[in-house]
Structure formats: C-alpha cells, structure tokens
C-alpha cells in the first residue's frame, strides 16, 4: 500500500519535471512589449503530498526537485530555494486553512479530499508565495520591484490554470 503510494508520487514528480523542462521551459509567452508570463507547474508536487508527511522531508523533497530543475534551467539555487521556501510555509498555510473538524489522518490536501473551493484558496496562496519568492530570487535585488510583481502576478495566473488542469486530470485520491 505504502509502496504503491510512494511510487505514485515519484511518478508525478517525474511527469511534472518532464513537462516543465520539455514544454514550459520552451514557452516564451508575451504580447508585444509584454514578456511577463513564465509558467511553473512543478510546485504542484509539493501541493498534493500527504498532510502527515514531516516538514523536514517535504523540504528535502523540494530541495532535490528544485535542484533537478536548476540543472536544466542553468540557474543554480533559484528553483530549489523557492521550493524549499514553499515546503516550509506549507504547514503554516495548512494550519491557517484547517477545516472545522480538522484534517483526516491519512488524507492529502487535494480536490478529492477537501473540495474545489478549499483547494482553490490553498493552491492560490501557496503558488502566489512560491512565485513571489522565485522571482525575487531570480532578480536578486530589490531595485526591480515592479518587474518582480508583474512577473509574479501574470505568471501566477497561468501557472494556476495549468496546475488546476493537472490536478483535475490526475485527481490524486490518496
């Protein structure tokens, strides 16, 4: 049982990383002078991992997933840093959004377990913070705040769209 579950998560990780590297890395999206859309789908893995998984494990998973993406983006530290940050704040966000009865012991924060409305607010908070952190790390200076915010907001809209499509298609049950 547990093995099957672990295998499934590894499978999702591989699929998300491949989709990011083969498809979304090649997408340069923009209208005229506007080049702020930059789609990141792989944070979906950190979103859907089980609730009871320890925070430290989550951060290590995030670090290595980020490292793999960094290797392909030729951008050392940026993806891993943002994913570690996202894994770190997941517990805080989960506490913030805890439903009245608490979470079920073996559930995951997914549409299947907690419903579309809950998942929307959960993923929106997580992905927005991830993107904000990611673009701040990429620019690495606070001189270009406008750039960071434009990138964050517009990339967020499109990343959310694709992550929701991913979550609806695969609809993780565990």
């Amino acid at each position: 049982m547990m093995n099957e579950r672990v295998r499934k998560y590894i499978g999702w990780g591989v699929v998300l990383a491949l989709v990011q590297i083969l498809v979304f890395r090649e997408v340069n999206f923009g209208w005229g002078d506007f080049y702020h859309v930059h789609i990141l789908v792989y944070p979906a893995l950190i979103l859907v991992l089980p609730i009871k998984i320890p925070r430290t494990y989550l951060m290590i998973i995030g670090f290595f997933l980020g490292l793999i993406l960094d290797l392909f983006y030729l951008s050392p530290g940026i993806h891993s840093s943002a994913l570690v940050f996202m894994a770190f704040i997941r517990t805080l966000v989960l506490n913030l959004l805890e439903p009245r009865g608490g979470y079920k012991v073996n559930s995951s924060p997914t549409i299947y377990h907690l419903g579309m409305n809950w998942f929307l607010s959960y993923s929106a908070i997580m992905i927005f913070l991830h993107h904000l952190f990611y673009f701040s790390m990429e620019v690495f200076t606070f001189d270009e705040m406008l750039y960071i915010w434009l990138r964050t907001v517009f990339s967020f809209i499109f990343s959310m769209l694709f992550i929701l499509i991913f979550c609806v298609i695969f609809n993780p049950r565990y």
Partner: protein, 276 residues
C-alpha cells in the same frame, strides 16, 4: 547539552530550512561571482549530454528554417570570399600577423537557450577542446551578437546571453563615432539600451549601432541594432537610447565564437592604462 540537543530537535524544521536556503544562496552567489565556477563547471558536464539530446529532439521542427538560414549564410560567406579576392592582400591583418589572422572563428551550435528570465544563459556544443574559452564573444550566423562565453568544459561552454543583467558591450554609433555601452534593462528580448553617450552627440532614429572593438570580445563593426528611440533623463548628461536588436536571439541556432588571437596582448595594455 541535553537542552541544546532538545532545542535543535524541536526546531529541526526551521534549522533545516535555514540550512537548505543557505545552500541555495551559496549556489546563487558562486554563480554570480565569476571566479568560483567549480559548481557550474561540473554542472555543465552533468547535464550537457542530456541537454544535447533534448535539443536534437526539437531540431526536427526547426529544420526548414535552419536549412534556409544555412543557405543564406553560405551565400554571405561566398560573397566575402569574392570580395577579399579582389582586394589587395597587403591591407588585411592576415599578412601582418604572419598569415594567421587576428581572429579565429569557431562555428558552434546552441543547444540550450532561454530568453524568459532576467539573467539568461545559453549552452553551446564547443569547449576548450575546440579552442573556445572564457571571455570570448559569440555572434549570430547572419547578423548581430549572441553572448559571451563564461564557463567552458572540454566539449561544452556556457554563455551569458546578450539578454543578461551583467552584459555590457562597448558599442559605437556607425558613421557618427560616438560610443557607449549596450546593456539590457528591459524584459523585452528584442530591445536593448545604449548608455553613456554624452548629450552633445548628434544622431538620429534609424542609425545603426555597431561594436566598437575597444574590448577583446568582438571585432569592430559588427552590427548590434538600430536606434529606435532616445531621450535625456532629467539631470543627466547622457542619453538613454533604446535600440532594436538586428537579430532574434530566441532563434539563434548556428553561431560563431570569436577568438581574438591578440586578446592577451591587448589586455595587458588595457590593464596598464589605469596606472598612468
């Protein structure tokens, strides 16, 4: 002691967070600091082979345009051969430097290119084995600049793209002589800025910006772009000039690395300029 261990255990997540973030920061810093390239040097080796395979996969879709551009490049080269045959041999640099020429050109293929970020990098399939090394200019096959080599392994080399916040290329406005630096401020991969041209300079929209040849990266006279717009920021003594790049960097595929054979000699002079 026990208390200390308990403290670490209780706040384990926080400490791990700080530890992992410091690793990420360390990677970022070494990446920006040009001398400590060890991590990137290894990284280029690890993924370059795989990267090349991914690129080969996408190659099929580009074949039509590539064959087209190859043909036009060849035509251009033929033109140059004919041109040089008609010239007097005595006025070429080749004869002055013992027939070796001042530049050696290494053709290369871009196997990874990205224009979406603030600091964009590229990967080409030539390395130290082919005579490509750190700090050489890379130009596009037909026209325009592509980037500057940074970290080279035996068979691959990583470039900073022209679209990088650290790019700074010495340039000149053709036929007018004023020079400045070309930098990338915008998010638009087709525009760059020419800076440090003094306000007394006279030029027009539509003038061509070319490399000045004051550095060892690019030979003089390579076209960069066309002046599209300019203004003088309030309180400044320099123009802010926007130029439209002559080439589309996102489509750069077959490029040429320029190895300035006299680079060391030039650099030794440039270094001593400050002493006097």
């Amino acid at each position: 002691m026990v208390d200390l261990i308990r403290f670490f255990l209780r706040n384990g997540a926080l400490f791990l967070f700080i530890l992992l973030q410091s690793i990420c920061f360390w990677m970022l810093i070494t990446f920006n600091e040009s001398h400590r390239a060890i991590f990137l040097h290894n990284k280029v080796l690890v993924t370059a082979g795989l990267q090349e395979r991914i690129d080969n996969l996408f190659d099929y879709w580009d074949l039509y345009h590539i064959s087209d551009s190859l043909a036009s490049e060849n035509a251009l080269l033929l033109e140059k051969i004919f041109e040089s045959q008609q010239k007097e041999p005595a006025d070429t640099l080749a004869t002055i430097h013992g027939g070796k020429g001042a530049y050696s050109i290494v053709p290369a293929k871009v196997i990874y290119n990205r224009i979406g970020g603030r600091n964009n990098n590229m990967l080409i399939n030539r390395g130290t084995n082919d005579g490509v090394d750190r700090g050489m200019g890379v130009i596009d096959g037909s026209a325009g600049l592509v980037g500057i080599t940074r970290y080279c392994s035996a068979n691959f080399c990583r470039l900073i793209s022209l679209l990088h916040s650290q790019t700074m290329i010495s340039a000149r406005i053709q036929d007018r002589g004023y020079f400045g630096s070309v930098v990338w401020h915008s998010v638009n991969p087709t525009r760059m800025n020419l800076e440090a041209v003094p306000v007394h300079a006279r030029f027009e929209r539509g003038d061509t910006v070319v490399t000045s040849g004051y550095s060892t990266l690019f030979p003089p006279g390579v076209e960069i772009g066309i002046i599209e717009d300019f203004d003088v920021p309030p309180g400044s003594n320099f123009y802010n000039i926007q130029i439209r790049l002559i080439n589309d960097i996102s489509k750069a595929k077959y490029v040429y690395v320029i190895n300035d054979l006299l680079a060391e000699e030039k650099q030794s002079h440039l270094m001593h300029l400050d002493d006097e």
